[in-house]
Structures are given as C-alpha cells and as structure tokens.
C-alpha cells in the first residue's frame, strides 16, 4: 500500500526527517512512535502530500506521490494534529464540503454521511456550528472529514491530542472501528495508545526510523524477556514470595517493584521470564498460600522498549568517531 524509500525533509538547512525507508501493507495499522519534535508530523504530512520531500521516493498504491500527488490525494484521508475545521460552518455543512472537495457526488455523499455520523458519533451535533463544539467533538468531526470519502489510506496525526481520559477511550474505540476498513497510519507520543491501537510500530528518533516491528518483536529483540507485574498479599514476608517466584520454570529474574496503594502486607515484584509464565506464577503463589492481588504483563513494557531504543541510539552516537 505504501512504500517510502530514503525519504528526507529539510527545512532550510536543518534536517527534520530522514532518510527513512519503510513499507506498509494494505489493511495494516501502523504507529509512528517518538518523542515530540522527532519528525512524526513531518513524515505524516509528506505521506498526506501536504509537504513535498526534499529527497527520496514515496509510492502509495503504486502511484508516485511526488510526481502525481493529485492521484494519491484521492486515496487518502488526513487528520492533522489540529483538526482542519471551519468555525462558521455547521458539522453537516462541513462534512458535505469535505466530501465534495474530495470529489464525491451529492447523491453518494448523502448516502455516506449517515454512516460516517454513526461511526464517529457526530450525528447529534449535525446542526451545531463547529465553533460551539467541545474539543472531543472537534476531534471526532476531524476524523469524520478524513473518512467521508472512504479512503483506502487513513493518516491520523496524534488523534488523542488534547483529549481528556474519557474522550481518549472513545477515540480509541473509534480507531478500532476504523482499522476494519482502512489502512491506518497513526502517530503518537502516547505509548499505551499506540500500543493498543497498532499492529506494528515504527520508532522514530532524530528524524530516523530506529526500529520497526510489532510490540512483541521489539520486546524480544531489545529486552530479550517478557515482564510480569505481580502484587501479592504476603503471609510470610517478601523474601518467601520472591523465592517462590524464582522457583517457577522460565523465570529469569525477580525484582521488587514500587507499590501504589494496597494493604500493609502487600508486596509487588517485576518478574522477568523467557516466556508468558503468568499461569505458572499464579499457580505457584496460590499453592504456596499467598493471595494474588494483581498479576499482569508489565504496562511499562513499551515505555521500556522505547527508552532502551532511544538510549541505545544515544550511546551509538557517543561512540561515533568525531
């Protein structure tokens, strides 16, 4: 669906992106992960044909996006970080405008609008001027304009930017619905969001793709282990719990972890294992007479991967000859 080769962008003499090379298959949901200012938005704007690359090649569905951006634009929908909304228009008027400007005929547009309103839940504000909408609704209308013409490729730049936690959950549900119909490119510096929404991650740092793969692939490559967080209501002290955990087959390391809340006898550990040993750990603890309060894969996994990658790159840069 999308092939980027040696893509780079310079603003003046300053390199903002690249060179980056990657491929994205049809139907994939790919997340661009990186800190603020590493080139995520620049990359998405190039893919969306808003910006032209300074170097490199970009193909969308076999079409050269640099030579024929017009043809590529018919196939994509783009939600930039700030949704492009005209404040004086009502939501209904705006969606009609967005559809028409993407080349839709009026009868096709009238058939499509109810489906988009249902998917993005903007039907209830159809007659409201955009200027009166909350941030959450604005973001949803932004998604609605991006999918109004049912594009094959959907590009979303920080779709949960500025949303409150409840709105983030709603947006995440919307992203899951969109994955079923579109190839989705998503950027974020919000690790849990990108982890939950994407099939594959491309990690960017200083304008370059420093790693790509699924969360599991990146984890196996970089951490060489799976991590489990366990909280136990210890009846016989933390040492006994740690010993019990170490005795489980496949466990490589057990380390005390910080405990947020819980009872006075509660102790928390991070267990590093070669495989998913959650069932074995739970069984061993229960048989040893400990009450398991919480047992989960480490939520810090993606954060750890990301930090490892960025730090590894910084170390490499330090070791480069001057």
């Amino acid at each position: 669906m999308l092939r980027a080769s040696g893509l780079a962008k310079y603003f003046g003499g300053k390199r903002a992106l690249g060179p980056v090379t990657f491929e994205i298959g049809r139907g994939e949901t790919v997340g661009f992960l990186g800190l603020n200012g590493v080139g995520k938005s620049t990359l998405l704007r190039i893919v969306a044909t808003d910006l032209r690359p300074s170097a490199g090649a970009l193909e969308v569905d076999g079409i050269d996006a640099v030579r024929d951006p017009h043809a590529v634009r018919r196939r994509l929908g783009f939600l930039p970080q700030v949704p492009p909304l005209y404040p004086e228009m009502t939501v209904g008027e705006f969606l009609r405008f967005a559809g028409r400007i993407r080349g839709m005929e009026d009868d096709a547009l009238e058939r499509r609008i109810p489906a988009v309103e249902e998917l993005t839940h903007v039907g209830e504000v159809r007659d409201e001027p955009v200027r009166h909408l909350s941030l959450g609704y604005r973001q949803r209308v932004g998604v609605a304009q991006a999918i109004i013409h049912d594009p094959e490729l959907l590009i979303l730049d920080e779709p949960t930017h500025g949303l409150d936690p409840a709105q983030v959950v709603e947006m995440r549900a919307l992203l899951h619905a969109l994955k079923e119909r579109h190839t989705v490119l998503l950027s974020s510096h919000n690790l849990p969001e990108i982890s939950q929404s994407c099939d594959r991650l491309l990690v960017l740092d200083a304008g370059r793709v420093i790693a790509q793969g699924s969360e599991e692939e990146l984890s196996a490559r970089l951490l060489g282990a799976r991590r489990i967080e366990v909280t136990v209501r210890a009846s016989a002290g933390a040492d006994a719990v740690a010993a019990c955990l170490r005795a489980v087959d496949g466990v490589r390391d057990v380390a005390p972890a910080s405990l947020a809340g819980g009872g006075p006898n509660d102790v928390a550990f991070t267990v590093e294992a070669t495989d998913d040993v959650r069932a074995e750990v739970c069984r061993a603890l229960v048989l040893a007479g400990h009450d398991v309060v919480r047992l989960d894969e480490s939520r810090e996994k993606l954060e750890t991967i990301f930090l490892e990658l960025v730090q590894e790159r910084a170390r490499d840069a330090d070791h480069l000859p001057a």
């Binding site: 603003f11 704007r45 969306a48 044909t49 808003d50 910006l51 032209r52 300074s54 017009h70 043809a71 634009r73 018919r74 994509l76 783009f78 930039p80 700030v82 492009p84 909304l85 005209y86 404040p87 004086e88 228009m89 405008f97 967005a98 028409r100 400007i101 993407r102 080349g103 304009q145």
Partner: protein, 243 residues
Amino acid sequence: MRATRIIFRRELAAYLASPMGWIVAATVLLLDGLLFYAQALGPAAGARLSADVLSRFFWTTSGLVAIAAVALSVRLIVEERQLDTLVLLKTSPVRDREVVLGKFLSAFAFLGGITVLTIYMPLLIMVNGKISIGQVAIGYLGLFLIGGATLAVGVFASSLTRHPLLAAATGAALTGALFLFWPLSYVLEPPLSHVFAGLSIHGRHFSGFQLGVLHLRDVVYYLATTFFFLLLSTKVLEAKRWE
C-alpha cells in the same frame, strides 16, 4: 472547475456570514454616498456638467473599491493558515490554482455586489443630467476591472504569510505602490516615466473608464495584472509545499 465552484460557494457563504464582509460593504457605501453628496449635491458642490460629476464619482469610487478589495482579499489564504484549514484543501484532490481561483472569484462576487449597490448615484445623475448608459457601463466595467486587479494583489499578499496584519500591510503597500506609480511618472524622466505610467493601476489606465472611453490596452492591463498576481499566488502556494 468543480473544485473552484465548491471553494467559491464556501468562501462566498463565509463572507455573508462574517461581520467583516458587511462592515467593509457598509463603510464603502457610506463613504461613497457621503463623497458623492459632497461632490454633486452638497452646498460646496457648485454647478458642474453631469459628465464631470460622473467622472468624479468613478474616480472616488475606484479608490474605495481598491481599498475594499484589499480589505476583503487579505483574509482569503492567511485565515486558512491561521485556522490550520489550508491543509484540508492541500491534501484533497484540488489543484492550487483551483484554490486560488475559487477564493478570488468569491471575493470578486462580493465586491461586485458592493459595487453594483452604488448604481443609485449614476442613476441620480442620469435622471437630473445628460449622461449615456454607455458611459455608466464603461465606468462600471473599469470599477470591476480595478477591483479584480487589486483583489488579486490582496490574494497574493495573503498567500505569503500566516499573519493577517502582515498580509494586510503587504497588500496595502503593493496596492499603494501601484497607485503611486502614476504621480511618480510625472516627476521622472523618460523612459522611466513611461514605465511607471504603464504600470500604474489608476491614473493612465483608469482615466478612460472614468470618462466613458473604452481602450483595449486598459482592459488588457487590468486582466494581465489580475492574471499575474493570481499566478504568483498559485506559485507561492506550490512553493510552500517545498519549504
């Protein structure tokens, strides 16, 4: 052309919905009415030939139309940049020239509406004096042409920046310079004086319309100026994708 039509309709609706459009229209019509009263009907007007009154009307109205054109056009692209909505047009299957043309035509239609509303003044002259419909028609053709040319200058100024004040200042400075070329041509020696007179947006090129005389060279000048600045605006939009 479909995209141009869609953008034209949206922009025209935006003018009609915004206080800015109505403020510009009201100010132009009020000032034009007051100036007409002072020149033709007021106590200081004196006795004049109706053709002279009509000529003065077109002279003052052309200045007001040019100011209104700059005021109306500088928002066209700069506002899209400020609201971050330009990206919607730039990532849609719409060519930059269609964006520029749609926006220009919407401003031209709105300005044209304001200009047409001044018709009661030539009609008053026609009722009370001796002027021909042809004189009035040629004068209005001149107003539309100078309006179009200054609108194009404003669109170009609007394409350059994302700061409305800077766009307004650039538009006003460019239009002012094009107006000043005419008096400047009087104080310069040939061949520079001919160059400045030829490039002047008022004076030499508008005087014919003012008197009801149609010169093809004046029509070509205004159309060429309009085309030139719209082309520049399109090129600026294209170039900004490479920035």
